[in-house]
Amino acid sequence: MIELDTIKPYFEGKEDVLGEILGRYPDYGRRSAIMPLLWEVQRAERHVSEARLEEIAHIVGVHATEVKGVMSFYSTYHEQPVGKYHLQICSTLSCSLAGSDEMFDFISEETGLVNGETDGSGIFSLQKVECLGSCGTAPVLQVNDTYYERVTRSSCKELLDALRSGEMLEPPRERGGDNEGAEKPKIGSEQRVGREA
């Protein structure tokens, strides 16, 4: 006898979310919803399990293999859960020239993790990644979806300590270049602050 999977479907009771995602694409482009559906599940569950993958395949109307084929092509979808804080260290040239290799070693020692590992308590995952487009504010550490730029030893330590106690620090907005020292805020900002207050 076949045992039925009793996991509650992710999109059960989330018809509005599902409808919004499917509604973005034309009828003939339903397959385009695969990536956003994978994102939706992963943001909530930190990975996409086989069961979710089959659910997405069913929604889109393709075989699960097709969804798996898409998912496995990309480096930011995870088949296994990542930690609560996914530490992603850019290791490409500009970051490397600003010390990202040493930063990786530092974080590796601090967390006791090697590349690709998640700790036993599920707090941290450590991963070297390729260029994050933060070359002018290198080195960059991406925690989940947030960029921390121009990371120094002390700011790295501070950030890891905060994360251990469950706090995501607000990253300073680093841009470098042309706007450095630009006068800001400018147009209409006083009014806006006033309205918000």
Partner: protein
């Protein structure tokens, strides 16, 4: 008395009093990403002008006359690309924004999207009108979550404000934009891979022809441009093709976002008229290098590196001048390579990048870059090199070049072949001694 009309002097330096920052003027300004602030700065006036006072053909002509060339790296004339669309035949047409900025050393599009998303949306409205596309696709790389959030907010604001949707500015033109998030694959910067990715397929490149104008997204007529190209179109329509063409050099018009990374005092994005020199960018704007430099990569990691000397520094940063030096303008992402950095190690870093990002579709790239090139560099940097290894890398490079299905493999050969040509002694030294000529390893200064 009559005088012989002189060819007007083109603006090719930031020091020219007539130059003003346009593309980048809102970046770093608090609140600039909101519709309210964008409108206060004259936002959506260019789109209104195009849709209410110009025919689509006139918009295409204006962009053609401006001399704008694609800012994603290849430099194809934007107006000409728009004119490749077939005659309207009732089928849905698409305008696609390639916001999958992933070429190492390139980070301009990110700030445009984070701090000035409406500028991009306005550019897409104009382009959509010009080519007769009522749907836009904005494909933003997965890691740029801040950009994605800002664009999502901007789309909602623009739709609510009537800047996207039906009958824009009282015209008969409808336009909507589908925002689509990538998931970490450099190959999606290649236009046909991006289209496959958008369609929910594995992001392997497609055979060309057919080109996107014939069969693009969902097999329908499509035009695809880079973020900065769309942003440029806004100002071309607002201020006119003549204004745009008054900047630059003979083959490269307008302003461009250049980027500096590596050891510079003030790395980042700088807007300059095309044809400004590397010296102006690196020394006058970015504050100069903070340590001795031996080479620079002029336009993103795939563009062959150039020796860091007076001749290179005085080269105008335009398409033709850099091509004459044997490299490319690319994305304008300049990477400074310090004297003390082992060049084999630096090149291996980029080979590793391309090996990681190879999609595996074709043999020269999969076996050549991800397989053999990777093994040879690993052998060298781990100190196990031997006589003949450097020659083997050279031979492999020649055999891979021009043989791959898409430009990714050749992109990897940019740094490989140029570093060999400039710094062969470092390769030979490493192969012979097992240790690099330059041994510095700690680059984390702070």
């Amino acid at each position: 008395m009559t005088t012989i009309a002189e060819k007007p002097q083109l603006i090719s330096s930031r020091k020219d009093a007539q130059f003003e920052v346009t593309l980048y003027k809102n970046v770093g300004v608090e609140g600039a990403h909101t519709l309210e602030t964008y409108l206060e700065g004259g936002g959506y006036k260019a789109a209104k002008k195009a849709l209410t006072t110009m025919t689509p053909e006139a918009v295409v002509d204006e962009v053609k006359r401006s001399g704008l060339r694609g800012r994603g790296g290849a430099g194809f004339p934007t107006g000409l690309k728009w004119s490749f669309m077939p005659k309207p035949d009732g089928r849905q047409r698409f305008i696609v924004c390639n916001a999958d900025e992933s070429e190492p050393g390139s980070f301009k599009d990110r700030y445009l999207m984070e701090d000035d998303p409406h500028q991009l949306l306005e550019g897409m409205v104009i382009a959509g009108y010009a080519i007769g596309a009522t749907k836009g696709v904005l494909y933003v790389r997965g890691e740029y979550y801040k950009s994605y959030e800002r664009l999502r907010e901007a789309l909602a604001e623009a739709t609510a404000g009537g800047y996207l949707g039906k009958g824009l500015f009282g015209s008969e033109f409808d336009f909507e934009i589908i925002l689509h998030r990538g998931a970490g694959a450099y190959i999606c910067g290649e236009e046909t891979s991006l289209m496959n990715s958008f369609e929910g397929l594995r992001a392997n490149p497609r055979l060309k022809p057919p080109f996107p104008a014939q069969a693009g997204v969902y097999g329908l007529p499509t035009t695809i441009n880079n973020v900065e190209s769309f942003a440029s179109a806004v100002h071309i329509i607002a201020k006119g093709a003549d204004w745009y063409a008054s900047m630059g050099t003979d083959d490269s018009k307008g302003t461009k976002l250049y980027q500096v990374s590596g050891p510079a005092a003030k790395p980042g994005v700088y807007e300059l008229p095309m044809g400004a020199t590397f010296r102006e960018l690196i020394f006058e704007l970015a504050g100069g290098p903070t340590e001795p430099i031996k080479a620079l990569i002029p336009g993103g990691s795939s563009t062959p590196m150039l020796a860091f000397n007076d001749e290179t520094l005085d080269t105008p940063m335009d398409y033709g001048s850099i091509a004459k030096k044997g490299s490319m303008l690319g994305t304008g992402g300049v990477i400074l390579i310090p004297q003390e950095k082992c060049i084999v190690n630096a090149t291996w870093n980029l080979v590793r990048f391309y090996a990681h990002e190879s999609c595996g579709k074709c043999t020269p790239c999969r076996e050549g870059i991800s397989g053999w090139m990777t093994k040879m560099y690993q052998k060298l940097v781990s100190g196990r090199g031997e006589a003949g290894d450097v020659e083997l890398i050279e031979i492999m490079s020649r055999n891979i070049k021009g043989k791959a299905f898409c430009p990714l493999a050749d992109a990897c050969l940019g740094p490989v072949q140029s570093s060999l040509a400039l710094f062969r002694d470092e390769y030979e030294h490493l192969a012979e001694h097992g240790t690099p000529k330059y041994t510095k390893t700690n680059w984390w200064s702070a």
